[in-house]
């Protein structure tokens, strides 16, 4: 079970710009490093991160081998209405994880 930490305000005023920070546990193995046996460790990366606000895509990022393990992604969005933000990470070897956080907009 992968772990993720999402930090964002639980409430906001309509039209306010809110800061969102996400941290996910993932080795981000580049596919270039030698392993203990002398072979190359197989590539294992998160490929794409997405954030949907009430179903609408508001932020997305492509990730590459140069990104460190346990990627931290911080971004901003405008609080438009009360609802749920859904964060999803997809990667190699069928890696898929998502978190949902509710927000109340007044």
């Amino acid at each position: 079970m992968p772990t993720a930490i999402v930090t964002m305000p639980a409430t906001a005023k309509r039209g306010e710009v809110i800061a969102i920070r996400t941290l996910v546990a993932h080795p981000m193995e580049t596919g270039y490093r030698p392993g203990d046996g002398g072979g190359v460790l197989p590539r294992d990366l998160i490929r794409r991160f997405q954030c949907h606000y009430n179903g609408e895509l508001v932020f997305a990022a492509e990730l590459y081998p140069a990104v460190a393990a346990n990627p931290l992604i911080a971004f901003f969005t405008v609080a438009t209405e009360s609802g749920t933000l859904r964060f999803s990470w997809d990667g190699d070897n069928g890696f898929a994880h998502s978190e949902s956080v509710a927000i109340t907009v007044t």
Partner: protein, 253 residues
């Protein structure tokens, strides 16, 4: 010349020990972005491991067995300060044990579970979660007379030259702390944030892993995993850092 250098080393290390105010956590030598990373739990990647540890605390190791929380309840109350007192003397093993070994004793005797190996991600998580409850508290090594011989052995190890480079811990971390080794500042080697997230490792690691890295660095063969020498060294290092606040889970470069 050599004797002069050695005498100087001795003087420097003795002043280091005599003036506790001269002690610096590795935190103080980090860059501002790294310090921000450690200070803010939303940025600290070690918290991912600690969260796993928190889940383990509440989950029984096998159906029908007690979870940690079953006996100890809320860790915030029962485990507060626990990490500042280890290594401590164990009546069960009749020797000093690290916090990791203490958790394993509990697993074997109370939970009928297998002990968690060194550097196991679950062990690091649980260790991090337990130690987090002591964050900010001063390191308080127990004044147990039974620990003293082991602590003395640790102090002797600390000043013993190891490996092809024939360097002791004290030569770098007492005599040359604050100077540079390549691009990095030589820290004073206070174990006040373990288990911690090291950027070089891209993951969590224990004090033993860090010490193994130092031994490999002076081209010595590290002691075996779980060897008593590691506990002795940890006992001495914790005594040396007594009173410094615990930073677990720390971040280091």
């Amino acid at each position: 010349m050599k004797t002069v250098v050695l005498a100087l080393c001795a003087v420097l290390s003795s002043t280091c020990m005599a003036a506790p105010d001269a002690r610096r956590s590795g935190f103080d030598d980090m860059t501002p972005p790294l310090r921000a990373m450690q200070r803010d739990d939303a940025l600290n990647p070690a918290m991912l491991s600690v969260l796993e540890g928190q889940a383990l605390w509440h989950r029984p190791p096998a159906p029908g067995q007690q979870a940690c929380a079953g006996c100890h309840g809320e860790a915030a109350a029962s485990m507060r300060g626990a990490a500042t007192r280890y290594p401590a003397f164990s009546a069960t093993s009749q020797r000093p044990v690290t916090l990791h070994e203490r958790i394993n004793e509990c697993r074997v005797t109370q939970q009928n579970a297998a002990p968690l190996p060194v550097e196991n991600p679950a062990a690091l998580g649980l260790l991090g979660f337990v130690a987090l409850q002591s964050r900010g508290l001063p390191i308080a090594p127990p004044a147990d007379a039974r620990l003293q011989p082991y602590r003395d052995a640790g102090a002797a190890l600390y000043t013993t030259r190891f490996g092809q480079l024939a360097l002791s811990c004290a030569q770098c971390h007492d005599a040359r702390a604050g100077l540079r080794l390549g691009g990095s500042t030589i820290p004073q080697a206070h174990p006040n944030g373990y288990p911690l997230y090291r950027l070089e490792w891209q993951g969590m690691g224990s004090l033993q892993r860090r010490l193994r890295g130092c031994m490999a660095g002076v081209r010595a063969e590290p002691f075996a995993l779980g060897a008593p020498e590691w506990v002795a060294l940890e006992l001495y290092l914790m005594q040396r850092a007594a009173g410094m606040p615990l930073e677990t889970p720390a971040v280091r470069p």
